[in-house]
């Protein structure tokens, strides 16, 4: 049997369903009835799906079905290339997340836009700076000045506080 990502994902779904059903077993009737009455059939069907996937992985390679009624995937690229590019993009997303957590939105949004355009997209400076400025104006104008979103306090507040000294209207 070949352990495919599809098989592993089905196993994960079955484990999550089992975990949810198990934790719901001691809940009182009102709280636990709906979770149990949905969870048990889901767990059973997930296990059936797991057996089907395991059987399929012994017979053939690749996902069991690509006709999911969802948006379709381009299967012409090699798995290695997909993984490599996917990880690169995931790194950018995580970079943005940790940037927001550490330095706040006001620093991270323009820095992320600028770095991505310059080093990932390899665009020229005029377009990079123009789009970064446009994004900053949109972000500050709509989300800060009009919507008055409550921004989280970053872990390293120094740079954002400095920015607020230069631009005192920031929220």
């Amino acid at each position: 049997m070949r352990v495919t990502p599809s098989l592993l994902f089905t196993l994960l779904v079955a484990l999550v369903a089992a975990g949810m059903v198990y934790t719901a077993k001691d809940w009182p009737l009102g709280t636990g009835l709906f979770p149990r009455s949905v969870g048990v059939p889901v767990l059973v069907m997930a296990l059936v799906q797991l057996i089907m996937d395991a059987y399929q992985s012994m017979k053939a390679s690749g996902p069991s079905s690509r006709e999911t009624g969802d948006l379709q995937v381009d299967w012409t690229m090699s798995a290695m290339e997909v993984a490599s590019r996917g990880l690169t993009f995931a790194a950018w997303l995580l970079g943005m997340f940790f940037g927001i957590l550490l330095l706040g939105f006001f620093i991270t949004v323009p820095v992320f836009t600028l770095l991505y355009l310059k080093y990932q997209a390899r665009e020229g400076w005029p377009l990079t700076l123009g789009l970064t400025a446009g994004m900053l104006v949109f972000f500050v104008g709509v989300f800060d000045q009009i919507l008055h979103i409550h921004w989280l306090e970053p872990v390293i507040a120094g740079p954002e506080n400095l920015l607020r000294v230069v631009m005192p209207w920031l929220g």
Partner: protein, 496 residues
Amino acid sequence: MFEAMADGLTALFSVERFLFITFGVVVGMALGAVPGLGGVVGLALLLPFTFDMDATAAIAMLVALSSVPVTTDTIPSVLFAVPGTVGSQATILDGHPMARKGEAGRAFGAAYFSSLLGGIIGAIILGMLIPVLKPLVLLFAAPELFSLGVMGISMVAILSGRVPLKGIVAGGMGLMLSMIGIDKQEGLLRWTMDSLYLFDGLNIIVVSLGLFALPELADMVIEGKQISSVPKQAMKGVGHGIRDVFANWWLMLRCSFLGTWVGIIPGLGSAVVDWLAYGHAKSSCKDAALTFGSGDVRGVIAPESANNAKQGGALVPTLAFGIPGSASMALLIGAFMIHGLQPGPAMLNQHLDITYSIVWSTAIANIMATAIALCFTNQLAKISSVRINILAPLVTVVVFLAAYQATASIFDLVTVLLFGLLGWVMKRCGWPRPPLLLGFLLGGLIERYLFISVRAYGAAFLIRPLVLVVLAVTIVTIYYSVKQEQKVRRLAGKGE
């Protein structure tokens, strides 16, 4: 009644009031186009400014504002697979593949025109129903609403393509995810892992952004192309999309009625209406099982006509009983009260002219929004030929901001990333995402109305006439969708 209709229309014919409607339309359109925002944000922002305005102008502006975000929410859905509002999730399934095939202009044309007609039909039905509102709304008690929830969840069978078991499991997981948070019946915590963030449950905006926006963005970045690689000259334009709406007028009409009906029933919400319409189209259109999901314009016409028509329907319980079917309708009720109007029977007697001016405002707002949107359609469609690496950082920032503004917590970003990963893995492993989202949307509703039904009627709630009708329609729908799938499998087996 006709006198009140005429009074309602003439009341809007002043330069000042017309300008306020235009302002409401422009703000509503802008909010619809930015993911995560929508009519509620606009109403909350503009409501304080209406205190000193005259009642007709203020309410016309706010009604216009709340009617049109569902027209422009198509833009991010089609171009980036990012749902503009919760009412445009289903549009992604065929709208985005159309953009990738160089048919973004066609998708916009079809979406805007079906939105226009859907919005007008919703307004007409609202106008016609005003004299007979009360018995109609009272037909739907908790058991009927529960059966409608079951009907909605049955769409899982239609949205699962050729992997029904995976679809049902995904739908079930969606139902279970909807149970995270404080249990409404007993007040106990379910699967919150002692996290304060999860006490109120997962936010629908964050979940849908994660499930659809990030995986599609990731796949476009991985492929490294522009959204559409079709040359600009070969792109199909807005006129094509408008002709599609006329060619599928019966589908548009059916979905508009469906949307109005869903709007009339308080509690079903705009997040469900597009999926119901999409599922209806997929189960009833010829060869839909073969073409839906790969850029079939009927998959755009159905949800877009329904979600605009829903706005008219949602005004029915709001005006007649003061029962808000959604957060935006609750804010509208607030606006009525600020201006000395009490929603309820008075809106159908003493203030009938104002009620009709609301109907007219809805229709006028839809016409204006479509006219404005059509002017920019071809320019917007050209975005699909811009390299994705230029668009990716901009869309990523908007997705993060849209997710964060849901509850202004860092956990919104954690959730969007986790659901992004889940959505991408599901897509790659051949698991359909729409059933999971549908289960998540309907879980709370089904549980709430099941609980009330059992408490109030016992098991006898299942034999109420309307419940039986809705459940019969559900079974027939599932039967036809299974038949269609079998037909597709037969055709695929024959290699056709």
